[in-house]
């Protein structure tokens, strides 16, 4: 069980790293990923994902599989919400501009 769990964990992590590199290295892919995330309806904490949201997430995962391969396990609703906050809403950004400090709070 431990070997299988480790194998699955590293695959998932590796898949996320591959997805990250995929959108980092291609503007069109980044733009499309951002659009797909923006289409995901915001839900309140603890709420069950709606049917519409599930459909959007499945569309997103299908596109990601087209980019990085059919074995991609897919982003969960929590992960989609998190990446939406990071990439669409820009609510979480650990890298502050070094000089102008133009981030607004």
């Amino acid at each position: 069980m431990d070997a299988n769990t480790q194998s699955v964990s590293s695959d998932v992590h590796e898949q996320l790293r591959t997805l990250y590199k995929s959108v980092l290295e291609d503007q069109n892919r980044f733009d499309e990923f951002k659009q797909l995330l923006a289409a995901y309806p915001l839900t309140s904490d603890g709420a069950v994902e709606s049917e519409a949201a599930t459909q959007v997430r499945e569309n997103l995962n299908a596109r990601v599989r087209a980019w990085i391969g059919p074995s991609f396990r897919g982003l969960s609703s929590t992960q989609v919400s998190l990446w939406r906050a990071i990439i669409v809403d820009e609510r979480i950004n650990v890298a502050i501009s070094p000089w102008k400090e133009s981030n607004a709070y």
């Binding site: 992590h13 996320l16 790293r17 990250y20 959108v23 980092l24 290295e25 291609d26 503007q27 980044f30 990446w83 990071i86 990439i87 820009e90 979480i92 950004n93 650990v94 890298a95 502050i96 501009s97 070094p98 000089w99 102008k100 400090e101 133009s102 981030n103 607004a104 709070y105």
Partner: protein, 315 residues
Amino acid sequence: MECAVDDLWSAFSETLPERLRDTACTLPYCLGLAPAPTAHWSDVFSHGITLAAPAMVARALPDVTDDQLRKSTVAHLLAIVDAFGNDRIEDGQVADREDVRAVLERARQQRDVALSILGDADGYMRSDRTTLSAIREERTLLARCQPVSRKGYRLVSLGKQSPGFPASLALARACGWEQRRLRNLALMFVGVWLGLQCYDDAIDWEDDWSNGGAWAVCLARYNGIGVTPSPRPATLAEARRLVLARGALGALVGLSGRWFRLAGERARMLGVSEVAEWAGVRAQEMENLLELELAAPGFVVRKQRLAAWAAEVVQ
């Protein structure tokens, strides 16, 4: 030095009328530079040199006294805070509050006193004029999306950096440096401040565009003297296509790297070893980043946008 900067700001806050002290203590938050009112100035800036430049120069000045070091650090700290504060208010990034303006006015007064004690009574008056002129010109150019050459960009950007010079130069002069070393010190800071500014203008260009104009677009439109510039983009998507097609972000990152190299060379020449090391690292980072930007235009912005994700998956 991070701790000293915060201590100096606390000491400044204590000199203010009681009604302004809370504003002063929470100024990074009031200016939208920090997410919480408890943040200190040392929390705000990614690079220590932004607020502590004189202290780094002081390590190459064996005869510097504690009082000279304190005066120059106070002058520089207050000048930088004043510059950032006024820029954010004038840009409309934060509300124009009477108490914030009053704190910044007091900062300017004490900045001038500290610099005067170091032997330069007019340094910040001159830099204020230069900065104001540069900011006005920048706003005009960006609002018009004026095509701008790299030289034009450099001249305006350098004007905005004026507050970053007087305190360190006054300190070195007070410790006996002659004109040749002072010129090299000034060049070192040209490299430092422009290196930082160029990189900032690259990674923030889309936000700048949304706020009225971006250097990356102005640079991208420029096709040479007497040559018809590229059409002015109407939307962010059009602007992005132009900026990426013209390699404007690579140009800014490349400029940043060259400025950091200049800073490092001058710092080594002068024995300002901490700056030499820091600038060398920054130059190499920019050179590495340039390769990636040239291979995949827009890389520097995507990297910035994905930074939180990278923290999770890139180990």
